[in-house]
């Protein structure tokens, strides 16, 4: 009567989502951070609409990156602190299945949530509505890729002092390619040009990361658990 990988994954997903929604304040924090950071730029530079439109891709993407990173630390931290991470590791399920389920659940409540409120932020940055679909598609793929990279970083740094700073230090250089492709796709969409090239590269990066990162994140977690 053992439990298959599919049922295990859905059970862990339910666990993660249940836990996330029991703390709605923690759910909202990265989103609010996203809003606040994007507000900083017009204040620091200028509210002139054409300038905002020019810098919108960069501001959106950097803010999304930083907001996602902020919540990444929590992926394994709570479980490591109360000892439930070990229980998951000893559940008889492959640790990879658990890592995949946790990362997907995390992306749903952070990255996907960012994508959903991105039109709100984009409006504040004078992004035309026609650019929204491409912007949201690129943000969806970008935040998913970032969640995988963040899972590797979180697996390596959970339990370390100043782990959150180290996590950002590790993940940000690895995230530069996705920033380049994603911001470019958004930029081209704003300019009304085709964003196909950048989107294809972003998609390739997303697929590549999704296939290999779970292995690395699982290995990282095993090192941490020792």
């Amino acid at each position: 009567m053992s439990v298959g990988a599919g049922s295990a994954m859905s059970l862990v997903l339910r666990r993660e989502l249940t836990l996330s929604f029991r703390r709605p304040d923690q759910l909202l924090q990265p989103l609010v951070f996203f809003l606040i950071v994007t507000t900083l730029f017009p204040l620091a530079l200028s509210p002139e609409l054409s300038l905002l439109r020019d810098m919108a891709p960069g501001v959106l993407w950097v803010a999304a990156l930083l907001a996602s990173l902020l919540s990444m630390e929590g992926l394994f931290k709570s479980d490591a602190e109360d000892g439930t991470l070990e229980q998951l590791a000893l559940s008889g399920q492959s640790l990879g299945v658990i890592v995949i389920a946790k990362t997907l659940a995390h992306w749903l409540v952070s990255g996907a949530a960012l994508v959903v409120i991105s039109p709100l932020v984009a409006t504040g940055l004078a992004v035309p509505i026609e650019a929204f679909p491409i912007m949201m598609l690129s943000l969806a793929m970008g935040t998913l890729t970032l969640s995988w990279l963040g899972a590797i970083g979180a697996g390596l740094t959970v339990g370390l002092r100043r782990g959150s700073v180290l996590l950002s230090l590790i993940v940000l250089p690895l995230a530069m390619p996705l920033l380049i492709f994603g911001a470019n796709a958004t930029d081209r969409a704003i300019g009304g040009e085709t964003a196909a090239g950048a989107l294809y590269f972003l998609a390739a990066l997303c697929v590549f990361t999704t296939s290999l990162a779970p292995l690395a994140a699982t290995a990282a977690l095993r090192i941490t658990l020792e």
């Binding site: 053992s2 059970l11 249940t18 000892g83 439930t84 559940s91």
Partner: protein
């Protein structure tokens, strides 16, 4: 109907933590129907030994074998056959006792919610089933952890200081559950810094600091 022949073999395990040689060639064998009490002073490596037996920590030298096979070869199956209780009760404070059990036991075997409620009742915390564990007392949380061990129905129990925070009744209950498990052919490895008082004679392994 004979119980399957469970057997855990730990052979000359060495573990270093930084510069400290924590485990120096520890060896023992544990068969079905046996209980081994691991004791020793603080820092002797009791918890480290337990984590090696769990398969969480790979020793620099030595092997651990379950049913004759090295646990690194059959890791998932081995871990499905064990129930581990750490020093902390390992419960999510935002989840209810029932949810905690559901999300851990449910990964090991298909189990229904009424069955989990029954197990919580048996452990004396049936009334706490729908309360978030953060409002439970330390003793109640320990009982929920015991309920988890019972619900998993694993042949090998690895328990680290299972009597922590238990009152006299709780301690009696824990001992009764240990006896029942071992009588039914299961194996148990118990780390405790105090004496274990059970109806049966207890084998002991002392770890020196």
């Amino acid at each position: 109907m004979s119980a399957p022949a469970y057997r855990l073999d730990v052979d000359r395990v060495h573990v270093w933590r930084g510069d400290r040689h924590v485990l120096k060639g520890t060896s023992f064998a544990l068969a079905g129907g046996e209980l081994l009490h691991i004791w020793g002073p603080n820092g002797a490596g009791k918890t480290t030994l337990l984590r090696v037996v769990c398969g969480l920590l790979r020793p620099e030298q030595g092997t651990v074998a379950w049913l004759g096979q090295s646990i690194t070869a059959v890791r998932a199956d081995y871990q499905a056959a064990l129930a581990y209780a750490s020093h902390e009760p390992a419960l999510k404070s935002d989840l209810t006792a029932l949810e905690n059990l559901r999300f851990t036991v449910g990964l090991k075997r298909r189990v229904s919610l009424p069955e989990l409620r029954e197990t919580l009742e048996k452990a004396g915390v049936g009334a706490c089933a729908d309360l978030p564990t953060r409002v439970l007392s330390a003793g109640q949380r320990r009982r929920v952890a015991i309920a988890r061990i019972l619900a998993v129905r694993a042949p090998l129990w690895l328990l680290d200081e299972p009597y922590t925070n238990l009152d006299t009744r709780g301690a009696e209950f824990m001992s009764a559950m240990l006896e029942e498990h071992v009588d039914q052919g299961g194996c148990a490895l118990v780390v405790a810094h105090h004496d274990l008082v059970l109806a049966r004679p207890v084998r002991r392994l002392e770890l020196a600091a």
